[in-house]
């Protein structure tokens, strides 16, 4: 993680609060990690440390492959990535306007309402953008 972020515990603390609030208040969300686009965990909720690190790295790789597919297809930058399974969903949401890029990765249960998840994630990402741009 860059020195700028690492040496700013206030920023990380605020991000952690935003991630925790999103997790607590969005029905169906089981785990969340905020990752830099080169795979470092910035904040997480409901995940033990090693799992959070793994999900951060996996999420950043998937985000990068998605961006590559989008470029090759002549499309613009990726807003969301959805992985639908039999018993839940993984969503990656881009946090805009952060140097180097960040992604919010969340795991949600089957009972979660997709539209509500996307709306709540968008609000969460907007709040995170404000933290890291300040």
């Amino acid at each position: 993680m860059s020195k700028a972020i690492r040496e700013n515990p206030r920023m990380i603390g605020l991000a952690a609060k935003i991630v925790e609030h999103f997790t607590q208040n969005t029905p169906g969300v089981q785990a969340v990690v905020l990752t830099t686009n080169d795979g470092f965990e910035v904040a997480s909720a409901r995940l033990e440390k090693s799992k959070a690190g793994k999900l951060a790295a996996l999420g950043s790789s998937l985000q990068a492959v998605s961006e590559a597919i989008s470029r090759e297809s002549g499309l613009k930058s990726v807003s969301n990535v959805f992985i639908e399974t039999e018993n839940g969903t993984v969503i990656l949401a881009r946090v805009a306007g952060v140097t180097g890029g960040m992604t919010l990765a969340m795991v949600a249960s089957q009972s979660a309402v997709l539209g509500h998840l996307v709306w709540a994630a968008r609000n969460c990402c907007t709040a995170l953008t404000r933290v890291f741009q300040s």
């Binding site: 993680m1 860059s2 020195k3 972020i5 830099t36 686009n37 080169d38 795979g39 470092f40 690190g53 793994k54 790295a57 996996l58 950043s60 790789s61 998937l62 990068a64 492959v65 961006e67 590559a68 090759e72 140097t99 180097g100 890029g101």
Partner: protein, 184 residues
Amino acid sequence: MIEGQDLKIVFAGPMGAGKTTAIRAISEIDPVSTDMFNHDREQSDKETTTVALDYGQLTLEGDRILRLYGTPGQGRFSFMWDIVGAGALGVILLLDASRPDLGGDAAEFLDAFGAMDPSPQIVIGVSRLPADADQALQLIYREVENRSAMVPVLTADIRTREAVVMLIDTLLSLIEGSQPELVS
């Protein structure tokens, strides 16, 4: 000559060893890249780092396509080594002799790719050798010998197309020798 099928090879090695550069030097197509802003300037002073894979292509004799894949170098992306390496006939392991633990780097990647089933053929390309190159090369030879591996170790400036061609030619010869059923 290897006949009949498209071939997959992988460029592997630690961060900053030149995997993305090598594929860019040789690919006939604009390579696919998944480089992201590098927050870890302590490990390597590069602006960007590969976080998923690189992809390029080269046409061989007989219009067969050589598919060139590059892996991320950092350990936290080691899950991608198995994913990207699946089905690869050969691996070009790029090592940077200016890194602090050249022997450790060689060991880590020889073990990771040697453990795949089936094991791909491996060629090592070493760059940024110091004036006393022998001492550095001995660190690599020791790791190869410890694993009783048949792995050629070549010096290569992978910024040049000629060096990358040399590494690929060497690897293809190894693949040819190990899979004679592919030879015409």
